[in-house]
């Protein structure tokens, strides 16, 4: 449409003008930019290769039948589930990996459920009600999203250690030691890490929502709670689902917060990768990493194609 509307008039009267313009406006840069379309495409493709090259190489090496990642021998899945490998273990037969995986899943599931429930209520409050402290809570959530994770991580660690110490010293009990860095501290920290992201997504759903439907429910003598459960919740449910999947991925992949709040008693998959990476590169780490990348990528693809999360987050 734009093409037809803006085609310049090709009349003889207008002929001298372009040559004058050419002198004034077309710089060397303009001449170079004539090739910008090809340049742009080439550049972008090179960048996409850059974005995927190491991950693809990692995945390929995880199927390579050789202990050192030096050259390609032949395809094997032994790093994933072989019973016996000389001088090593496969992912499925390594109890450390299995334990770490179970812990990761437990924390991810629990933190997702808690965070999404809290965030749904919070998003509803922030989107539908006017109250004095609203700006403050908004600000707190955005601060949490944008702040460097290391700062939040170390401060939460200090907080838990001090809280445990304080409870023992002044009250003589500490809720069975749940604030000693371990499973529960990681869980609590992950919930705090997930809430702001979940709120952003659920609020976006609440915004693009025809309020008239809710009002119709109220007009038909639905009590507010009934209206919420029978009308609002089903409509925003895709948003809640998207938020849950995102929280799960964030929690499952999280390293920094987990590292500082886990203490020595528990290990999650990212913590396991961290400790092993520092001892050298092995096909087994490649296999674990491949698994984790495939896991998150699947969730992200589903989220992006079904719910368009990118539009809500950015």
């Amino acid at each position: 449409m734009a093409e037809t509307m803006t085609a310049p008039p090709q009349t003889p009267a207008a002929a001298p003008a372009p040559s004058r313009r050419a002198k004034v406006h077309f710089s060397a840069w303009d001449r170079i930019m004539r090739f910008s379309d090809i340049g742009l495409a080439t550049w972008s493709i090179v960048m996409f290769i850059f974005l995927y090259l190491p991950i693809v190489v990692l995945i390929i090496y995880s199927f390579n039948d050789q202990k050192l990642n030096v050259y390609w021998t032949h395809f094997t899945t032994k790093w994933y589930w072989a019973e016996n490998i000389d001088g090593g273990k496969s992912v499925l037969h390594d109890p450390d990996v299995i334990n770490a995986f179970v812990t990761s899943i437990q924390i991810a599931v629990l933190s997702t459920i808690i965070a999404v429930v809290i965030a749904t209520l919070g998003a509803f409050a922030l989107e539908r009600f006017e109250f004095r402290t609203k700006m403050g809570w908004d600000g707190l959530n955005y601060t949490k999203i944008i702040i460097a994770e290391v700062v939040a991580g170390v401060s939460t660690l200090l907080f838990f250690v001090q809280l445990d110490h304080f409870l023992n010293k002044y009250f003589g009990f500490s809720f069975g030691g749940i604030f000693v860095p371990g499973f529960y501290t990681v869980l609590i920290a992950h919930v705090a890490w997930n809430i702001p992201f979940a709120i952003v997504i659920i609020r976006a759903r609440l915004k693009g929502f025809d309020r008239a439907i809710e009002e119709a429910g109220a007009d038909l003598y639905g009590r507010p709670v009934t209206v919420f459960f029978r009308i609002t919740l089903p409509i925003i449910f895709p948003g809640i689902l998207a938020a849950s999947l995102l929280c799960f991925t964030l929690s499952f992949d999280d390293f920094v917060t987990t590292f500082f709040t886990a203490g020595a008693s528990i290990t999650t998959l990212p913590l396991l990768i961290w400790s092993r990476v520092r001892m050298g590169i092995t096909p087994e780490i490649n296999a674990i990493s491949t698994f984790m990348v495939a896991f998150s990528a699947t969730i992200i693809i589903v989220l992006e194609l079904k719910a368009r999360v990118s539009k809500d987050i950015i």
Binding site: L40, L51, N69, Y142, A152, V154, S296, I300, I301
Partner: protein, 314 residues
């Protein structure tokens, strides 16, 4: 309209009115509690404890603002500003500070230069292609930094892809490969690699919003491609540039995973100092002080950003 509202209020009864006044604060309460208790309070606590001291075998930071004379604790005996004085007077921290500053600016500029053409390219695609390219940026956006950083080892290590490629070309010999992993070069590569999607997504959103007819208008008025880019596209994508820069720069200030893995703990930056002090007994208060300085800088940057751009871009 007011009449309708009154009628509706009467019809639905008192509960609706009550919910209107108390609903917001009640619904926001769980979120508020969680974010206050496990995010804001720890931040305040870490501020306080950076003025304290900690015994080597003592997990708890003690708050004493007097000189501790005991010889055993003399190394860690402190008054209020001791740790800050240590940071300001010791050149190690200044070096780390400037290295971090260079890292932040370099990473932001690098991501902007590499990412802008990419974002522009994606924004000009339509339909399924656009979804595909967007998805290809989204997947790394949400994938674990730890794994994405580690994946470069398969390319850059002594026996990695790059070295075996250079060997084939005869540029290096197998006995003396390029030692790129771990190195500061690897840190730069991994930094830009990890943060690139954080720049591309906001850029894409703001470039996509640009009205194409403005570009047509610029062309009709005789401007070349470069002039159009400089005077139309670039100013209009400024919000995206600002948002992307913030999303890259702020987390980079506290980055420690990349310097630790890709730099082999040899690249001493601010985030790495925080991390390493929190893994050493007795050094938590110093880590707390380092973390507070970082937090202060981040708050200043974000405040400046909000003042100049507003909060709309989040």
């Amino acid at each position: 309209m007011a009449e309708v509202a009154t009628v509706r209020a009467k019809a639905t009864g008192v509960q609706r009115v009550k919910l209107g006044r108390w609903g917001g604060p009640v619904l926001v309460a769980p979120m508020a509690f969680w974010m206050l208790a496990f995010f804001l309070v720890p931040l305040i606590l870490i501020l306080v404890y950076s003025f304290g001291y900690q015994g080597v075998y003592d997990k708890n930071v003690n708050l004493t603002f007097q000189t501790v004379i005991s010889t055993e604790k003399i190394a860690y005996s402190v008054q209020s500003f001791h740790w800050y004085r240590e940071i300001v007077t010791n050149p190690i921290y200044w070096k780390a500070f400037w290295r971090t500053a260079i890292m932040v600016f370099g990473n932001t500029a690098g991501c902007l230069l590499l990412g802008f053409p990419m974002a522009y390219f994606i924004s000009r695609k339509t339909g399924r292609r656009k979804t595909l390219f967007l998805l290809m940026v989204m997947i790394p956006f949400w994938t674990s930094f730890l794994i994405r950083t580690y994946s470069w080892s398969t390319v850059l290590s002594d026996q990695g892809l790059l070295n075996s490629f250079l060997e084939k070309l005869g540029l290096v010999s197998a006995s003396s490969p390029l030692h790129l992993w771990p190195s500061s070069t690897a840190v730069w590569v991994a930094l830009i690699y990890d943060y690139l999607p954080f720049m591309v997504l906001p850029l894409f959103v703001s470039i996509e919003k640009i009205d194409r007819s403005l570009l047509e208008a610029s062309k009709d008025l005789g401007a070349g491609k470069w002039t159009t880019f400089r005077r139309v596209t670039l100013p209009l994508s400024l919000p995206g540039i600002m948002a992307g820069s913030l999303l890259v720069a702020i987390p980079t200030t506290g980055e420690f995973v990349i310097p630790a893995i890709a730099g082999g703990d040899k690249v001493v930056v601010w985030g790495w100092l925080i991390y390493t002090n929190f893994t050493r007994p007795g050094m938590w208060p110093l880590g707390a002080a380092l973390s507070n300085i970082l937090l202060l800088i981040m708050i200043i940057v974000v405040a400046l950003y909000v003042r100049s751009v507003g909060t709309e871009q989040f």
